[in-house]
């Protein structure tokens, strides 16, 4: 089980969070076309490596976190508030 250090709530069990997918993928511009959106929605590297991903802390602060986790060891290297979101700069 993962224990995720939420910058707002402290270390919490994985069961308090909802996984929201890869965080590197940036939503394409509106006019980018079907191929770009297809890549954004479906194409993932699924690497044995560090993986940057979104976790929404639904049972806690209900804020979105950007987590860097290793897909093999599950080690968590960093957790930060979603960049640019309101109040993100004050995340502990």
């Amino acid at each position: 089980m993962l224990r995720i250090p939420c910058p707002w709530c402290g270390v919490r069990d994985e069961s308090e969070f909802r996984y929201r997918g890869a965080a590197e993928a940036r939503r394409p511009e509106a006019a980018a076309g079907a191929a770009a959106f297809n890549a954004y929605v479906y194409e993932r590297d699924n690497a044995r490596d560090w993986h940057c991903e979104w976790w929404l802390h639904v049972a806690g602060c209900r804020r979105l976190l950007k987590v860097v986790r290793h897909t093999v060891t599950h080690e968590i290297r960093s957790v930060e508030a979603a960049p640019g979101a309101p109040g993100a700069e004050r995340g502990r």
Binding site: M1, R3, R20, A34, N38, H74, A82, A85
Partner: protein
């Protein structure tokens, strides 16, 4: 009394408290403090079961939870419980236990014929033998094998009387697993630092190996007293750490003492979920078996187990035991038995000489050095032991009634392996030794490959000190106390197998022999993991703990490689079998899932509602306890003809505020909200980014920067998450605040041609069509309560939805009922609501099922042409827009008496072939004779007027149906605008 083998006073047994118990119908007597195993041995009961596959007689092999053979059924107040190890089962007054896997009796077991035909039952026999005929497996072979193989019998005891269970969450700085010499020493050091320490021990008392050596009593007592004085240290006795789950999370199972169990209403086991910063594994080492012919005859027992039976329970494993060991530690059992006056038959040791052998000789015990056991005589008990030379030539036959065996000790490394420990092969001890990465913790004592109690304690002190430093809580160096010295020992002489005639077992519980391993290798299953699966080695409930390394060594020899190269079997959670009830914890029956109750739940109940569970919600289905359609149609009729009222408080409601609220909604909805006037509502649909529909609902604008959004009941949580996710990712720059207000507001739909007249007396608003038209919204006082009024309709009739704070729900509901009394207003439930919306062609979760697009449901006109929104691009993919897609249509049976069913497949009336679609919703109709339904039909909008068959293979029914527009009722919406 007749307890012939009780020869001494045991550490745990109380001679003043005899207990009666029954085993296989025999009335026997033991002592308080006994386990079932020690009590059976005390009574001279050697054979306690039959083996899994060959039905061979089996006895007690170990004295702990690693026991492979002595598994019994216990018959008690809770029925029959199978597969309990007699070696850990505390003896209680009146205990009734039975042996397993024998028929008709333990001694005369017909299944034992399997042993005689063993040549036909080698490893992998089912894969080869039961190939044909094809039907044979299901009807013949499997039932036969099921009867012949297996262990205990399970009797279901599920129901309201099932055992209580609970899960406790706990936290600490350090978890110490095992309270032997190393664990106690580490706890002493860590406890003194003020760190929060949890010490878990599976035994009922701390001490581990020190309990078997009288010289350690004082150290144990003084350490125990020190531990009790540490306020931040807690001990969990009778607690097995079941598994390591990463990130410092461990599961542990505590067996409650009788007093604790009584306090917790008969709770027997408690599951602990432990979250810690570091772990110290002081899990000890397990003695391993040696593979030699007939190494499973009752009376063959591990040497350490014999020492435990004698020291803890005062029971001798035999009157004339022999020892077969390749290491000095194992001799301690014999020395203790000799000291208790037991005559030892002799020692067989493959090593040419050793310090322990010299001590044995000095005690007058015959030692046969440079020799091995080539055979064991006796079927139901050991009679003779045949000693052979190392090259296999017979040397001597010894008369003995027990054979104590020790092939060395293997660190218990299951938890360490789950934590990613590196395992290093240590040749001098012929075993693997685990090492944990420092950020996770440490291994200490015999689990760490350390030999001897004093050495283990010193390793524990060191590990404790190192962890204190790791956790920035070092304390002043203290000299370790004087420890009883470890006897000097000669190194182990690795010995895994003695080959000869007869079965040499490496896994006693699954009946796997050394020959099976060689067969696996010959057939190409050379890899350890392949061999394991081919032979089932290590796959029984004991996970092959006493034979694990042995199997690897036999495999290595068969392949001609060193043992270190075979790798190790990964011990997976759980470390011991765990009752499902303990895993389920308290989240069963009434607490299985939370129940969400509507603010008016009590009123609905008193009005005679039948409730239905939808997700977590309890919602009124119909206000009647009568089955059938009559009450449902009565409720629906009230709405169509007069007026009805229903509780829609379970709809999701999200408050959206901020300067960019409208921009945000434009992005998350497929239609436009920035153009919505203040005081107006609009129906909206949300797509997922892949272009499929996510949810629908009505959203109202209360102020320029303030909207109230509603979702379907089923999707309220997922839509909130979806919006929160986008607020902080794709819309991170917007000024918008989202708040879940589902629970704050009770909401009722007042529907029917008389709705306006019912509402008018309760509000100070002009409700005329001109002043408050369809889709108007107002914040106003309603029946004296500040509320929100929406003119929206799900039923297809003139309707209002009225929201008030949940605390005022009853006030408003009662006022509406009172005001509606002159029109014979009726509350209506979910069934009537469904009838009304199906007739109207409104969709719900049955159609918004995650596979449909806006176009499929005829909502494509809502997709905005300008501006970006979630799902915009991918909704236009060819596959989501082709005309053969399943589209929403209405369905009515051609014969008015025919019934429609949800899930019926639509097929062509002539030459019915592949499914063209299916019914999503069906109801008895009020507006039309008979039934109506909604369906998703391939190219549906092109098929209006066609006749198809609605087939339900489950009910073996075919109904001819007519395809209609989904808007079967009032397609021009005159009623809702009336």
């Amino acid at each position: 009394m007749a307890c012939p083998a009780r020869i001494a006073r045991g550490l745990l047994t109380d001679p003043a408290r005899p207990l009666h118990f029954r085993f296989d119908g025999r009335e026997l007597q033991g002592l308080a403090g006994d386990t079932l195993a020690s009590a059976l041995l005390a009574n001279g009961v050697l054979q306690v079961g039959r083996s899994f596959k060959y039905h061979r007689p089996r006895g007690i092999v170990t004295a702990g939870p690693e026991e492979p053979c002595a598994l019994v059924d216990v018959i008690g107040a809770r029925g029959r419980e199978p597969n309990l190890p007699a070696t850990t089962l505390p003896l209680t007054a009146g205990l009734v236990a039975e042996s397993q896997n024998r028929w008709p009796s333990l001694r005369f077991d017909l299944g034992a014929l399997a042993d005689r035909v063993a040549g036909f039952l080698p490893a992998g026999f089912y894969y080869k033998t039961f190939m044909s005929p094809g039907w044979g497996w299901e009807r013949l072979y499997e039932p036969l094998i099921r009867r012949a193989a297996g262990l205990g019998r399970l009797e279901a005891s599920v129901g309201p009387h099932a055992d209580p269970a609970e899960t406790v969450h706990d936290h600490a700085d350090v978890l110490i697993v095992g309270a032997g010499a190393a664990g106690l020493a580490a706890a002493h050091r860590l406890g003194a630092t003020g760190l929060r320490v949890l010490l878990a021990e599976q035994d009922l008392a701390p001490g581990g190996g020190t309990l078997l050596d009288g010289r350690w009593a004082r150290w144990r007592e003084s350490t125990g007293a020190a531990l009790q004085s540490f306020p931040t240290l807690r001990c969990l006795m009778r607690t097995t750490v079941l598994g390591a789950y990463g990130h410092g999370v461990f599961g542990a199972l505590e067996t409650l003492s009788a007093e604790e169990s009584a306090r917790f209403g008969g709770l027997r086991e408690r599951l602990h979920v432990l979250r810690v910063r570091r772990v110290l594994l002081a899990t000890g080492a397990l003695e391993r078996l040696i593979a030699f012919p007939a190494n499973d005859v009752p009376g063959v027992m591990l040497a350490g187990a014999a020492l435990r039976f004698l020291t803890r329970y005062g029971v001798a494993a035999g009157r004339r035991p022999a020892l077969f060991a390749n290491n000095d530690e194992a001799y301690e059992a014999l020395f203790a038995l000799a000291a208790a006056g037991v005559h030892c038959a002799g020692v067989i040791d493959p090593r040419p000489e050793s310090r322990a052998a010299a001590r044995a000789k000095a005690l007058g015990i015959a030692v046969h050095s440079a020799a091995v056991v080539g055979a064991v005589g006796g079927r139901h008990a050991v009679r003779t032991v045949t000693i052979t030379e190392l090259d296999g030539r017979p040397r001597f036959v010894l008369e003995a009634d027990a054979l104590l065996v020790s092939g060395g000790h293997t660190p218990v490394s299951g938890l360490a392996a789950q934590l990613g420990a590196a395992l290093a092969w240590h040749e001098p001890q012929a075993t693997w030794i685990p090492e944990l990465p420092a950020p996770i913790g440490r291994v200490a004592g015999s689990a760490h490959g350390v030999c001897g109690l004093a050495a283990a304690a010193r390793d524990g002190y060191e590990a404790g000190d190192a962890l204190a430093v790791d956790l920035a809580r070092p304390h002043a160096a203290t000299e370790p106390p004087t420890l009883p010295p470890d006897p000097e020992a000669t190194a182990i002489g690795a010995l895994w197998e003695v080959r000869g005639r007869g079965k040499a077992f490496i896994d006693l519980q699954n009946d796997v022999t050394a020959d099976d391993v060689r067969l696996a290798v010959r057939e190409g299953y050379e890899h350890l993991e392949h061999m394991k699966r081919y032979t089932t080695f290590g796959m029984a409930t004991d996970q092959g703990r006493i034979g694990g390394l042995l199997g690897c060594a036999v495999l290595a020899a068969a392949r001609g490689i060193p043992v270190a190269e075979t790798g190790t079997l990964r011990a997976r959670p759980f470390a011991q079998p765990v009752p499902f009830a303990a895993l389920a914890g308290a989240e069963v029956r009434a607490h299985y899932r939370p129940k969400r109750r509507l603010p008016l739940h009590a009123w609905h109940e008193s009005a005679g509602a039948t409730f239905v569970s939808t997700g977590l919600w309890l919602r009124p289905l119909v206000y009647s306890r009568e089955p059938g359609w009559t009450p449902v149609l009565e409720e629906a009729r009230a709405v169509r003809e007069r007026v009805g009222i229903t509780d829609v408080s379970s709809l999701g409601k999200i408050d959206v505020q901020g300067a960019d609220a409208a921009r945000f909604l434009d992005f998350v909805y497929a239609n436009t909200f920035s153009t919505l006037a203040v005081g107006r509502a609009r129906y909206g649909i949300m797509l997922r980014e892949d272009g499929l529909l996510l949810d629908d609902g009505t959203t109202s604008r209360l102020a320029a920067g303030h909207f109230i959004l509603t979702t379907t009941t089923a999707n309220s949580a997922s839509v909130l998450e979806h919006l929160e996710f986008h607020r902080e990712s794709s819309c991170a720059a917007l000024d918008v605040v989202l708040t879940d207000i589902l629970d704050q507001w009770a909401q009722f739909a007042l529907a029917g041609p008389r709705a306006r007249e019912v509402l008018a007396p309760l509000v100070a608003l002009d409700l005329s069509n001109e002043a408050f038209p369809f889709m108007a919204v107002a914040e106003t006082m309603i029946a004296g309560v500040p509320g929100r009024l929406f003119r929206i309709s799900f039923s297809g009739e003139l309707a209002y939805e009225i929201a008030v704070p949940a605390g005022a729900a009853l006030t408003l509901w009662s006022a509406l009922l009172e005001s509606g009394a002159r029109f014979d207003i009726r509350p209506y439930g979910l069934d009537a609501l469904n009838t009304l919306r199906i007739e109207k062609g409104h969709v719900t979760t049955a159609e918004l099922n995650g596979n449909t697009t806006a176009d499929d449901l005829g909502l494509q006109r809502l997709l905005k042409q300008q501006g970006d929104f979630i799902g915009r691009t991918l909704a236009q993919r060819p596959g989501l827009t082709v005309s053969e897609r399943l589209q929403l249509v209405g369905v009515r049976p051609v014969a008015p008496t025919a019934r429609l069913r949800n899930g019926s497949q639509l097929v062509a009336a002539q030459a019915p072939g592949a499914s063209l679609g299916y019914l999503t919703s069906a109801t008895r109709s009020l507006e039309f004779q008979g039934w109506v339904g909604l369906a998703l039909l391939s190219g549906g909008r092109q098929r209006l007027g066609q006749r198809l068959l609605a087939r339900s293979p489950v009910h073996d029914e075919s109904v001819e149906v007519q395809i209609l527009s989904a808007h079967m009722l009032d397609a021009e919406n005159t009623r809702v605008r009336s």
